[in-house]
Structures are given as structure tokens and as C-alpha cells.
């Protein structure tokens, strides 16, 4: 068991957003979390990654047998958690090369490994760029600055490829992508799937799931997982729309 979320309640500025979530993710699995806007999908992703604006009022998250909520943000990343941001942050003046090299070497130091040499690093960068079909010269560009929407999302997958996480959370990585970019992002994810890692794919639409086949689909509504199933659930949702879920929930 890689990740276990138990009865998680999360509030922001006193307002409860997540109202009791239970979820188990094992190595080798892809979980899709779907649901209408404003139901807590991104909040869940942010809480796992460690964003500090949120208050966990109840419940716990166990990751690799450890209490995740006690770990600082960077330690979670060093333990293999990766969040692909819905809105990647532009950081003018920090080059992609400095950014990635600092990240990789900080992670390596945590693991007791020697830092990568300059040439090893550049080689790795080139290799991973190809994975997400990034043609442009990334090295000297500032992080996400002046990137198009699609480039930003590809850049998230590129970073994921560089850092080789154990648990990757893709927060609406598909939103705003044209079909080519979507295919590239999905290919990237598929190439990075391994028996010893796992993905949580948060999405509003079913279309990414045509390319990245989930093992499980969960529907998040009003801060709770109201329905879980296999990949067929995504198709059903697409067909019937979220109104169907809303009706089912209110009927309970």
C-alpha cells in the first residue's frame, strides 16, 4: 500500500472543503478522480503535496507507512510525491536548468547520493525533453515564463519525468490542452508508468482517460467520494453528466 487516506477533513479559512475522504492507492495503479468544479479535487491534491493554506481538521494520510501530514513540503517531494499543477507558477529569472538541477541534487542529497555532474544533468534533461516532445531550448528559459498553456502542462510532465516520482498527482493537467498536447501529455504519463509507482489523475472530463487508462475511477462531490468504480464509470459519467451524480447523491 503506497497511500492511504483515512477520513480526511480539510478546511480553508474555516470553511470545510473536504468532508471525509477515504482512499487507498497501491503501487502500479492509476486512479482517476472526477467531479464537477468546486468539489474539492484540487484541494485534495494540494493537501497531499503540502500546501500550507489548508488546515487538516480530521483524519490522516499515510504514505509509505509514514505520517505524510507531518512532513514539510520538500520532504514529501523527496519521498517521491509529485504534483503536476493545474496552474503552473511562472518564476521569472529562475532558469529551468537551475531549477531542475537544484531540485534533483537536493533530492539526491536527501537520499545520500552524490550530486549529478553538469554533463550527466544535461544528458538527463535532453532525454526527458524528448519524452514530452519539447523541442525548444529549455535550459536557459525561465520557469514557465512566457510559456503557452500547453507548454506549461508539458513542462509539468517534463519535471515529473526528471524527478521520477513514486506517486504523481496530475491536477487537471488536461484542461486547456488541444488534442496534440493532450496526446503528448498522455504518452508521457504512459511511458512513466511502472509497477512500483502510482498516479492520481484529477480531471473534469473523460477525454484524458481515453489515453491514460485508469484502474479505478472515483467521483468527488461536495467534499466526499460519492461513487467509485472501474474505468467504465468514467464513460458513464461522460454520457450521463454530473447531474446524474447529483441526483443520486440527493436521493440518498
Amino acid at each position: 500500500m503506497l497511500l492511504q487516506i483515512k477520513n480526511l477533513h480539510v478546511a480553508i479559512e474555516g470553511k470545510e472543503i473536504i468532508k471525509g475522504i477515504d482512499l487507498i492507492v497501491n503501487e502500479g495503479e492509476v486512479h482517476a478522480i472526477m467531479g464537477p468544479n468546486g468539489t474539492g479535487k484540487s484541494t485534495l491534491a494540494s493537501v497531499i503535496a503540502g500546501r500550507e493554506d489548508y488546515e487538516v481538521t480530521e483524519g490522516e494520510i499515510i504514505y509509505k507507512g509514514k505520517n505524510l501530514l507531518e512532513m514539510p513540503i520538500e520532504q514529501r517531494a523527496r519521498e517521491g510525491i509529485f504534483l503536476s499543477f493545474q496552474y503552473p507558477v511562472e518564476i521569472p529569472g529562475v532558469s529551468m536548468a537551475n531549477f531542475m538541477r537544484t531540485a534533483l541534487n537536493d533530492i539526491r542529497r536527501y537520499k545520500g547520493l552524490e550530486p549529478l555532474s553538469g554533463s550527466e544533468f544535461l544528458l538527463k534533461m535532453e532525454e526527458k525533453k524528448q519524452l514530452v516532445e519539447i523541442q525548444s531550448q529549455l535550459t536557459n528559459r525561465s520557469v514557465n515564463e512566457g510559456f503557452s498553456g500547453g507548454e506549461k502542462k508539458k513542462n509539468e510532465i517534463f519535471q515529473m519525468a526528471m524527478l521520477e516520482p513514486t506517486l504523481a498527482i496530475l491536477d487537471e493537467t488536461d484542461s486547456g490542452l488541444d488534442i496534440d498536447a493532450l496526446r503528448i501529455v498522455a504518452n508521457g504519463v504512459n511511458k512513466l508508468r511502472r509497477p512500483d509507482n502510482a498516479f492520481i489523475v484529477i480531471t473534469h472530463y473523460q477525454r484524458l482517460l481515453e489515453y491514460v487508462t485508469p484502474d479505478f475511477v472515483h467521483v468527488l462531490f461536495d467534499g466526499r467520494i460519492v461513487k467509485s468504480g472501474k474505468k467504465e464509470l468514467a464513460l458513464e459519467l461522460e454520457e450521463k453528466g454530473y447531474e446524474w451524480i447529483k441526483k443520486e447523491v440527493s436521493a440518498l
Binding site: 500550507e52 517531494a77 529562475v94 531549477f99 537544484t102 541534487n105 520557469v143 524527478l163
Partner: protein, 470 residues
Amino acid sequence: MEILNQSFIDTSFWEEIFSQHRSIITQYDTPWITQMRLDALEKFSSLGIPDQSHERWKNTDIRKLLTKGWTFQFKPPEKPVKVEDFFLCEVQGFDTLLITLFNGWYTYKNAPLRILPDGTVIGSLRAALVEAPEIIENYLGQKADFSQNAFASLCAAFASEGFFIYVPDGVQLQKPIQMVNVVNYSEPLLMQTRNLIIAGKGSSLQLLHCDDSNNNEAAFTNSLTEIYVGEGATVDYYKLQNINDHSVIEHNAYIYQEKQSLCNTYSINLHGGLIRNETYNYLAGRHSEGNHFGLYLMDKNQQADNLIFVDIAATDCMSYALFKGVLDDYAHGVFNGHILVRKDSQHTQAYQSNRNILLTDKALVNTKPFLEIYADDVKCSHGATVGQLDKDAMFYLRSRGIDQDNARLLLMYAFAAEVLNRINIPALKDRLDDLVKKRLRGELSICDQCVLHCKSPEKPVVFDIDLSKI
């Protein structure tokens, strides 16, 4: 030489000092220059040393610093100082024409004035007063109105030495000229130096002006630089100020621009007790452009105070100013920006921005960008920010496994880089990049060598962060 104190803020004290030393101060003067000194002294006496009731001195107490007591050195040193005793140019790919002042006096290997094959003249202002009084009289104090500026007037009265640069019409200087003021004196020394830079029609000139402490003794430098930018000429003026915590720089720059000229100034304040730069940029001719960039990285009780006054007196002019500061501990940053667009200066485009990061709640910034517009067809704006490091960016960096301290360093460096990226000399940009990185890591202290001419230069810093060094 005696050390004085309280009297330093009395105008009568300065008048007395002047009359006591008049024969030395005016030794090389033409009658015209002497008259100019007397006029300036009179101006100074009527203005007095500014106190904090002056709008432009509200946030800086210069009187307190003056009353610490200072000594003077009115005569040049008996033995000429050898530049090589202090400097050895080790900055790779950065070949400059170097001229130096040591404790306010010109030092040189050969002649006090060098005439290059293209007709460019560089050297000592004192020598130029003797050799080329007609050029001096055409420019010195002629293009700058500092009648309301007490320190500039004081400097004009007293200064007998400084840098002189004359670039003839049409000459494009290939090498930057580097003017270095080094201070190394056994007592707290007050120096007044005056620089005159003339860039002829269509010429281009890159200037680097460094102020460096060579020991840990206090020094007070009051200097006045006049830059004349001829029609269609381009001047880049880099000020790099790196002095010890006890020292003060009060620098006034007056820049006069003819039509279609371009002047970029850069003020990089890395270290110093008080660094105050006043830049007065007069855009006299159409289609001229004056841009001003600044970066101050201060900690402990250091203070950086930058004032930019851009007077736009012609149509179709442009001016852009960007000043950024990172302030740690109890450090204090002051920014005063003032753009004056005169009535007929239509189609002006002017923008001023001052952005600050405070790393502690004891650090302080006073910022005041100000627009004064009398023309009706202009595009002008200004803005100022004071804040902490961007929380979202911090989260993004840390979410990739980057240590909190390293994330802060990356963001601070990125913040500073916006200014550094404006530097037009690649080798200088690289060197300043290294210095800024070291400064942000807390590794740059005032070494006893000039930062650009270390006798034992350290290896260039590569920015792959080593946690053990933080």
C-alpha cells in the same frame, strides 16, 4: 591632520576650511574655475547641509554621519601611487581602460592624460584643467544645474581632482572605461571628487565606475559626475558600489542628453554604510532616451538611498527606471523617483518602478515614485511594491524537493536578475551575477581588494547550490 566633528554641519566651517586651504585647492585653476568654486561655495552656504525636513532627505540622516568627524587630504600624495600595488585585472573577458583614484587622487603609470589614437582623452580632471581649459570651460557646470543641491555645490567648490573623459564625435569606443575610486587611509577621510564625461556627437561609450574600500576605516566620498551625451551618442554608465559598513558615498550624477541620444545608468549597491546616489537626467533633445536601473542588496544596518530625477524637456523622449532591492536584518532602502514632463514634451513615454523584498520585519523601505506631467499627450506610469518572497513560487519550488533556503536563494537571485539582465557587457554581467549570488548567500564581505581586481581572485561561482555553504 586634525579630526573635527560637530562643525561639519555648519556652513561657516566649510567656508573657513576653504579660505584656509584656498591656495592649494585653486592651485591649478584658471580664474574662471576659481570663480566657479566661489559661486558654488556661496550656493552651498545659502543651502546648508540638508536635514530631514528636506523632502529629498526625509529618510536619510546625513548630518549625523557628517558629525562623526573627518579628516581631509588637500594635497596629492608625495609619492605617486602605483596602481599595480592594488589591482590586478583578473576578470576574464573583461578588458577595460582602467583609470584610478586613490584616496581621491589620480594615480597613473604614465601621463595624467592619455590621448588614444582615435582622439579619446582619458585621465585626471586636474590635468585636464591645465591642458585643455577651453573644453572644461565649455562643459564643467555648464550643462548641469545643481544650484539647489548642497552636496553638489560643496563638491564643486572643493574638488580638485577626479576623472576626465572626452570621446570625440563619431568615435565608438570598443573597450569599456573603468574608473575606480579606492580608499585606504589610516584615518576617517572625507574626499570630494568631480568627474566630467563628454561623449561627442554620434559617439559611444561604456563606463564602469567602481567605489571600493580597501580597508575597514570609515570614509566619506562626496562626488559629482557630469555626463554630456551628444546628439545621437550612446553612454552606458555602470556604478558598482562596494564599500565597508562605516563608509558613506554621496554621489550626484548630472546627465545632459542631446537629441536622439541614449543613456543607460546602472547602480549596483552591494555593500556600504550609506550609499546615496542622486541621478539628475535632463533630456534636452527630441527622441532622446534615458534609462535607469538599480539593484541594492543591503543587510545589517546598511542603507541604500537612490534618487532619480528625470526632466523631460523635449518631445518624443523615453525614460524607463527599474530599481529593485533585497533588504535583510535592519537594513534600510530608500527610493525617490521623479519624472517631470514639461509642457511641450509631447509623446513622452516614461515608466518608473521600484520593487523591494524585505527579509525581516525590521528591515525598512521608503519608496516614493512621483510623476509630474504638464504635457497632455504622454504615456507615463509608475509603481512601487514592498513585499516578501512570492508564496506560490516558494511552494512550487519546494514541491519539487528544493530545500526552503535554496528556494529562497533562487527567488532572491531571480528577483535581482531582472536588473542584471539589463547589463550590456556580458563579462560584466557574469561577474556581477557571481557577486550577487555570493552576496545573497552571505559570502561576500568587503575584502581588502577591489571586487573586480582581486589579487587572489576566487574561482567563479557556479550557481549549483551547495547546502553546506548556506
